[in-house]
Every structure is written in C-alpha cells, then in structure tokens.
C-alpha cells in the first residue's frame, strides 16, 4: 500500500519537478516565466507526436525539448532583447500554447503509443518501501534525479553558473565584468523552457500515454508557485514536487476506493494546497529564509546603469 502510494507520488510529481527546475533556471537569470503551463502543453504534444511518428519515446523526448526550446525563444526575444513586460509575455505564451496544441493536436487525439517503460535497477529495485518508487522507474524519472543534482552543481559549483546567478542578481555588475547579460538570459530562458517541455512530455509519454487537449491541467502554474516554495533551489523543488505528487496520488486513491466526498471537491485539493504553500513560503521569504534573485522581473538596459 505504502509502496504503491509512494510510486504514484513520484510519477505524479515528476512532470511538476521538470517544470519547476526549468522555471528555476529562468528565474535565476532574472526572467519570470508565466508561460510554463503553455510550454508544458507544447512539450506534451511534441513528445507525443515525436514518439508517434518515430516509434521511439527517446525521439519524442528530444522533440519535446527542441520544440519548447524554440517556443521559449519567443519569450526570451521579447523579454531579453526587446525588454518587454515579462508577466504579459508569459501569459501570452500560456495562451499561445493552449491554442496551438489544440490546433495541431487534432490529429493526435485518440492515437496510442507505447509509452516509457520501467527500467528496474538490479538490486536496488528490490529494496523494501522505496525500491519500487525510486528504482523501478522509467528513464525520465532517473534523469530527473540526476538533473536535480546537476542544476545545483551548475549553479553553485561552476563558473558559468556563478555568472548566471550574477546576471539574475545584479545584471549591471555582470555587465561590468564583461558577462553578456542578454546571451546568458536568452539561453537560460530557452534551456529552462526545454526542461519544462520534457516535463510536459512526461505527461503524454508516461503518466497517460496519449494526447488530451489541455492535459497539463494547471500543473504549470503549480510549478510557478513551487519556484517560490523552493527558494530557487533544486533540492527543495524536488521535495515540493513530490509533495504535490503525493496529494495527487492520495486524491486518486480516495477516488478509487470510493468515499462520500465528491470527486469535484477532491480535485480541488492540489489547487487549494498550492495557495496554502504559496502563502506559507511567501511569509517565510519575507522573514529572510531565502531570497529571490534581486534582478527578477526587471529588464536590463545598459543606459539605466548607475
């Protein structure tokens, strides 16, 4: 019972985890991205279509990354090069994503693919309780484990990561040091978008191996809230994503065993919980437990330098 619930938790949390990591990469460079929801949908459709036409989920994942990388470059161009309003551009991306995936997903509705397979890791997968949840999973889940570590290592242990954080904290200082603010921001936004896309692909390749219009169902927005919860760190993002995975898993479990509570009320849980988490983490943020990048949300114009 616990094993099954834990397994469902990890699987439901993974798309949110990828999306949150992508959003953290964006915001570390100082760019808010409210287009996560739309990018997830684009990733989900690209991943599904790529797998459908090639027969290989691996190609699907690459397609999801590439297509959302390209879509993310629209947000990057507007917010970085053209110094446009980041909030509106993100909202536009979400609308755009919902719309284009509805349009191009028409032919994919009702199609089936063989989704990602589980690849048990010999030995570890037999561990009690955690074996099934963490070591009998598919390729993308293992990738997400590595990615959590890689993102931390990149941001805190590499020179480029330090430069990226500087760009997010104080772009004028970074500029003075000869770091190209626009190049770093552009690549952070597009690469982050690519990661969000892989999160979307997880929905259509592993969780429910099919394409459904608007299948992200608010997960992108949950990721946006989780970025604040995580204090812009990848480790806490993992914890937060699994927290939400756990709630989803429990909600599904409740529905399966049948309770007196209406399914509609149960389905509200993740959204109510997002608000609660957001309130708590915002209050903690004000108490100084962690800090958001100082340059977050502000376009950088060299002429404004003081």
């Amino acid at each position: 019972m616990v094993e099954i619930l834990l397994d469902a938790t990890v699987r439901a949390g993974t798309p949110i985890l990828f999306a949150t990591l992508g959003a953290i990469l964006n915001e570390r460079a100082g760019i808010i991205n409210l287009g996560i929801e739309g990018l997830m949908l684009i990733g989900a459709l690209a991943g599904f279509a790529g797998t459908f036409y090639s027969g290989s989920p691996l190609i699907g994942i690459l397609a999801a990354f590439a297509v959302t990388f390209a879509a993310g470059s629209i947000h990057a161009l507007i917010t970085v090069q053209l110094r446009g309003n980041q909030i509106v551009s993100g909202l536009a991306m979400t609308m755009f994503g919902i719309g284009v995936t509805a349009l191009f997903g028409r032919g994919m509705v009702g199609q089936t693919i063989s989704g990602l397979e589980r690849l048990p890791i010999p030995g570890l997968s037999q561990l009690p309780i955690i074996g099934r949840a963490f070591f009998q999973q598919d390729l993308l889940i293992y990738t997400s484990f590595v990615l959590v570590f890689l993102l931390w290592f990149f941001l805190y242990r590499t020179r480029i990561g330090l430069a990226l954080r500087t760009v997010g904290e104080n772009p004028a200082a970074a500029d003075t040091c000869g770091i190209s603010v626009s190049l770093y921001r552009f690549l952070a936004v597009t690469t982050g978008a690519g990661l969000v896309g892989i999160g979307g692909a997880y929905l259509s390749l592993a969780m429910t191996p099919m394409w459904i219009e608007n299948m992200s169902a608010g997960r992108g927005w949950i990721a946006v809230a989780l970025v604040i919860f995580s204090g812009w760190s990848s480790g806490k993002a993992m914890f937060g994503a699994y927290l939400f995975g756990g709630i989803t898993a429990m909600q599904l479990r409740f529905q399966a065993i049948g309770t007196d509570i209406s399914t509609h009320i149960l389905q509200m849980l993740p959204y109510v919980f997002t608000i609660l988490v957001l309130v708590v983490s915002t209050i903690r943020l004000q108490k100084g437990s962690s800090q958001q990048p100082q340059g977050l949300g502000l376009p950088y114009d060299r002429e404004d330098r003081k």
């Binding site: 053209l82 551009s89 536009a92 755009f96 919902i98 719309g99 349009l103 927005w221 109510v272 957001l278």
Partner: protein
C-alpha cells in the same frame, strides 16, 4: 555600419496609437500561417469569420452577445491593471458571479422581477468580489503573488460549480444532466430585436461609463492611479495601499462576477458547464490591448466578439478547435509587446564606426 538602439526622449504618440492595429494585423498574418499548416485555407477562414460575425443582423447581434461578458470581465481586469495588480482570475470570478445569481434565482423565494434583478446583481457582485478578494487580502497582508492565487481560484471555482451542478443543485427533472433547473421568467433579462441580445449588453456599456467616471472624476480613481504608477509616493502621501489593493481586487472581481450574472440571466437561464468558455482569459488581453481605457475595453471586446462568433462557426465547419482563438490572442500579445520596444526605443543604422 553599426546598429544603434537609443531611447526616445518622448515616446511617439503616432506609434502608440498604431501599434495595437499593426499588432493585430501581423498576428492575423501569423495565425493564417498556423491555420494553413493545419490544412485549412486561411483566406476562407477569415472570410467565414467576417461573414458570420458582421455579415448579417443576426451575426451582429451574436457578436454583441459574445462581447457582453468580455466587456464586464475586461473592465474588471483593466481596473486592477491600473494599480499594477494582475487579476488573472476573471474566469473564476465569472463562475462565482453566475453561482451567486443562480442561488438567488432558484432558492431565494423572491418573485418580483425588479427585486430579483437587484438581489441577483448583488449576489453576483459580492461572490465575484469575494473570490478575487481572497487574492486581495493575501496580497495586501503578506504580499502573496496575486497572479498565482487568482489563477488557482479559477480551477477551484469551476470545480465548485461542477460540484453543485452534479450534486445538490442538479435539476431533479433534468434527466440526470449536470445542470440546474431553469430560471423563472421573472429572473431573466429582457431580449431585444428578436435576437439573443439582452439587457446585459447595455448594463455592460453603463458599467463602462461608471468605471470611467470613477477613475477620472473621483478621488479614489486618482488614488488608484497614483498607487499604480508610484507606490512609494502614494505611501508618503498617506494613502493606505493595503486597503486599496484589497478594494481594487474586490471591485475588479465584482465586475467580472456581473458577467456571470449576465450569462445566466441573459442567455443560459440556468447554471451549467462552460458558463464561461475562457472569457476571463480573453479579458486579460482585452485589458492590455485597450491600454486601460474603458472605451478601449468596449472596442476591443467587440473585436474579440467577432473572433469568437467566427471561431464558433469555424469549429462547426472545419472542426477547428475553438481554443485556437487563444493562439491568436497569444500572438497579438507577443506582437504588441514587441511593438512596445519600438515605441520606447529608436533603432538607427549608423555609417562608420564612430557612433554608439
């Protein structure tokens, strides 16, 4: 040769006014490419949209019908924009307004038409307002990001309405369909010209006028503008920004809530699925395109009304999903944001290397 970007001393008024028009035109072009890629001739599609939406009296009336909730919601969102507050939750506020109005219509026991109208209006106003007020309170008290809260409240509102129409409010005579009983005649808006056009449209226009007067002729409107453009100065001047944030989000949600009233009392006569098919999201782009002006909201809402009526018929003709309208709206926003750059900056080509 060198490309130089320099800030304009005064932003160009000509560009400012033409930018929305150009953005829509370019977005039409790109949307055309997308439609083409989906295997449909874009010229046929656009001709069809225009023909359906403005080619006949009935089409025109349908456009006004679609524009009605958009005007309400657009006004609500643009009011919050004035104070740099992002109300992304008009969709949920519409649902809540519809819920409040439905409760009065079905369960209050009132029978007098005008009493019902006033009570339904108040219920929709308060329900929509409180729904947005949650975000207002959290933002004012703890600076919680209102974008995420208002958005999450959308999902919760839709699920709450679903709960009601699948559960306690389901019409016992409704053959198990998820909808409430029909409203009595006394709880319905009047219709005009033998079309579906109803009083809600005129109420929306009146609402726009009131909001204009509120913003331009009252001290509160002035305060909202000051807080929006310079919160620090407002605080020095002794304005209570926290109270203002809550009040503005409440009012913003309340106006969007009236859109819900208008949909159930003017059009559907019951609470059911899809009371709002994304009007609340379209309202965001309306508010942005209208550059916060009440008149602008009306004009852009009418344009979006055309798009929605046309979109409906494209769906019937070519199974083009109605959600495609979002893609078009997203494109408009992208180009509008892009054009802002050229309003504020000048791009010059300078010969030689001495420039820059």
């Amino acid at each position: 040769m060198k490309l130089v970007i320099e800030r304009r001393d005064i932003s160009s008024t000509l560009l400012r006014l033409t930018a929305p028009v150009v953005s829509i035109a370019v977005a039409l072009l790109f949307a055309g490419v997308l439609i083409l890629a989906a295997g449909i001739n874009p010229f046929d599609a656009y001709r069809e949209i225009l023909y359906e939406a403005v080619g006949s009296t009935y089409g025109l009336s349908e456009t006004l019908v679609k524009a009605t909730p958009l005007i309400f919601a657009g006004l609500g969102v643009s009011l919050a924009f004035r104070m740099q507050i992002w109300n992304i939750g008009a969709e949920g506020q519409i649902y809540m307004g519809a819920m409040g109005a439905t409760w009065v219509a079905l369960f209050s026991g009132l029978e007098n038409h005008w009493l019902l109208m006033i009570a339904m209006f108040c219920a929709a106003f308060v329900c929509g307002g409180l729904w947005a007020g949650v975000a207002g309170l959290l933002r004012a008290r703890w600076s919680v990001n209102e974008v995420i809260v208002t958005l999450m409240m959308n999902y919760i509102a839709i699920l709450l309405v679903n709960y009601l129409i699948y559960g306690p409010w389901r019409d016992p005579q409704g053959f198990n369909f998820p909808l409430t009983a029909q409203f009595a005649d006394a709880a319905r808006f009047a219709n005009f010209f033998d079309t579906r056009l109803h009083s809600g449209f005129f109420l929306a226009l009146f609402c726009a006028l009131l909001l204009y007067l509120f913003m331009e002729r009252t001290i509160w409107g002035y305060q909202i503008k000051v807080i929006g453009s310079n919160p620090q100065a407002a605080r020095y001047a002794g304005m209570r920004t926290g109270v203002a944030i809550f009040a503005v989000l409440f009012l913003s949600g309340a106006i969007a809530g009236v859109a819900g009233l208008s949909e159930v009392a003017g059009l559907q006569y019951r609470l059911q699925h899809g009371i709002s098919s994304g009007y609340g999201y379209t309202a965001i782009i309306i508010a942005w395109l209208a550059r916060r002006s009440a008149l602008g909201v009306i004009i852009v809402s009418l344009l979006m009304g055309i798009l929605l009526v046309g979109g409906d018929s494209l769906q019937m003709l070519w199974q083009l999903p109605i959600a495609f309208v979002y893609a078009f709206q997203g494109l408009i926003l992208f180009f509008l944001l892009g054009s802002d750059f050229f309003i504020q900056y000048r791009v010059k080509l300078i010969k030689g290397v001495q420039g820059g």
